[in-house]
Amino acid sequence: MAGHSTYEPQNAGAKWLERRLPVLSLVHGSFVAFPTPKNLNYWWTFGGIAFFVLVVQLITGIVLVMHYTPNDALAFASVEHIMRDVNYGWLMRYLHSNGASMFFFAVYIHIFRGMYYGSYKEPREIAWILGVLLFFLMVLTAFMGYVLPWGQMSLWGATVITNLFSAVPVVGEAITTWLWGGFAVGNPTLNRFFSLHYLLPFVILGVVMLHIWAFHVAGNNNPVGVDPKSDKDTVPFHPYYTLKDLFAIVVFMILFSWFVFYLPNYLGHADNYIPANPMVTPAHIVPEWFLLPFYAILRAITFDIGPIPSKLGGVIAMGGAIAILFVLPWLDTSKVRSANYRPVYRFFFWLFFFTTIMLGWLGSKPAEQPYIAWIQFFTVLYFAHFLIVLPVLGLIETPRKVPDSINDAVLGKSSDAA
């Protein structure tokens, strides 16, 4: 990363530090002088936006922990204490609970952007894999975070999801008991979820650094999908992209504030304002909106497949829906990165996007017909996109002519650059 630095320490202190730990030139090379394609559109700002939300989650989370009590008899009341008696506690909590949604919203756009522009392709496979790992860590963290207020949906969401492990043959029951720290979701479960919910965000922060490192080796992808060929194709990260990203972050904050200040409970569930009660099961147990597509896929398998019972089949399908993202770079056989030059892929990309939206909506519906049939239909589309469309399309699709360079594309020298 420091390779791009033209940094010359000016004052004595900086010189002293630079000889011993060249952290200033590292930062300068990565976030000041870093040559960045000059044609990045606003879809590229969502990485920075996601990082901003991560920082918001860390800060508000650390403050909330100062007042929260991880105990099954006290947790719900401690959250109400934060909401009522802690100065601006309501603000911290609504920022944190809505921040989780904002984080996923930004990251989903970031992932779809990577898919549309082929950012996972050679030589950025590791950056992509680390990104999928980040997404997986986010899912775990968000799931455990939703358990902490210890409302009805906390308890029953935790019960449904941890029970999935009982589908594992032979050792399933033992694993579930081990996860719970008892024979049902209870105080030990709450405590370990709290511990991990505090730990994982720092793991995420570390993997984010690796993610940035990995894509800085190859440099950013860009809407044309052609690597920069000369200085004409790039601009230094600062001030060009620092300003553009900052502008995008502030616009995103407007959306964030819309929810925090005016619709703070819109993205949550009313049931979670009822204290957890193991004796009463809510009518509909649903996860937060950002996990709904995977929840739908979990419920798609309603039949036994040979020796695999339907429950285990559902767990495998749900796990597979995330796991398949890890190998995406090797499923896509096309050498052309950007969908701008792949008209047929572009159609399938939007079909895939539509598929995930429909799965999300269906995931919120009760497990009954006709929803189940539609979930199965869209689950097939989801996996077909990776296992059939992407491998085959690269072999049979005729891409449009790709411009020779970013600068050519920007200046319109290519026949029909986007």
């Binding site: 309501w90 300003l243 819309w258 619709l263 703070p264 409970n265 009313a270 049931d271 539509f354």
Partner: protein
Amino acid sequence: MKNLMFKSARALAVVAGLAVAGPALAAGEGPHVEKQPWSFAGPFGQFDKAQLQRGFQVYQEVCSACHGLSYVAFRNLAEEGGPGFSVDEVKALAAEYSIEDGPDSEGEMFERDGKPFDKFPSPFPNEQAARASNNGAYPPDLSLMAKARAALRGFPWFVLDVATQYQENGPDYLYGLLTGYHEAPEGVEVPEGQYYNPGFISGSTLAMAPPLSDELVEYSDGSPMTVDQYARDVSAFLMWTAEPHLESRKRIGFGVMAFLILFASLLYFTKRKIWRDVDH
């Protein structure tokens, strides 16, 4: 080929959308909840202090016989953004209640007059006692009730709600429930100890007898003494108990929004100036 694909995709989208949304709209999960006008709705919404005071009166004279308000302290009634009782009024009100405290230096629990810092004492010592007095049913605590109930909105309303800032489904539901008691229609079996109410969220009958009737609570400010008005007032009061910082949240939100929009515009022009000489 491309054209055909887009057309078929659009057709697929429409068919799938209709097929999935149709039954959801028809099935009508949960009661139909009518939107009510609330003073605290919208970006500039604030509580109507007189209404909160009346709603508190309804809670105190009617609901509190069975329902607790255990997250609310007497002092909250005098705090900013609430019903606006004076500190002295709250002191006098708290003193009407008897609170169990202790143990004292002899190791005995004792009763004393309530103080502003005390929470509202619950009508029953525990769930079992509450069930024993209520035909086996458990009257839930009302502190958070206005946020703990929401009838399903369904497509497309749940999307439009983001733009219209609709967050009053809780009080709308409570109002609908309190005014929803009717004679059971022909053919509907109402079990012993249950009351017919199509506004109830889980079933068409519930164990709570109709709590309100006209002239039940004596208002001193000339407001109509009707079930409709009582239901409105107590629903608004419960929105406040569930969200006591609603007013400052919306007030701060407006300042935040105004600042962010101004800041974003300045950043936009700064960014434009920086990028002026770059083709991109």
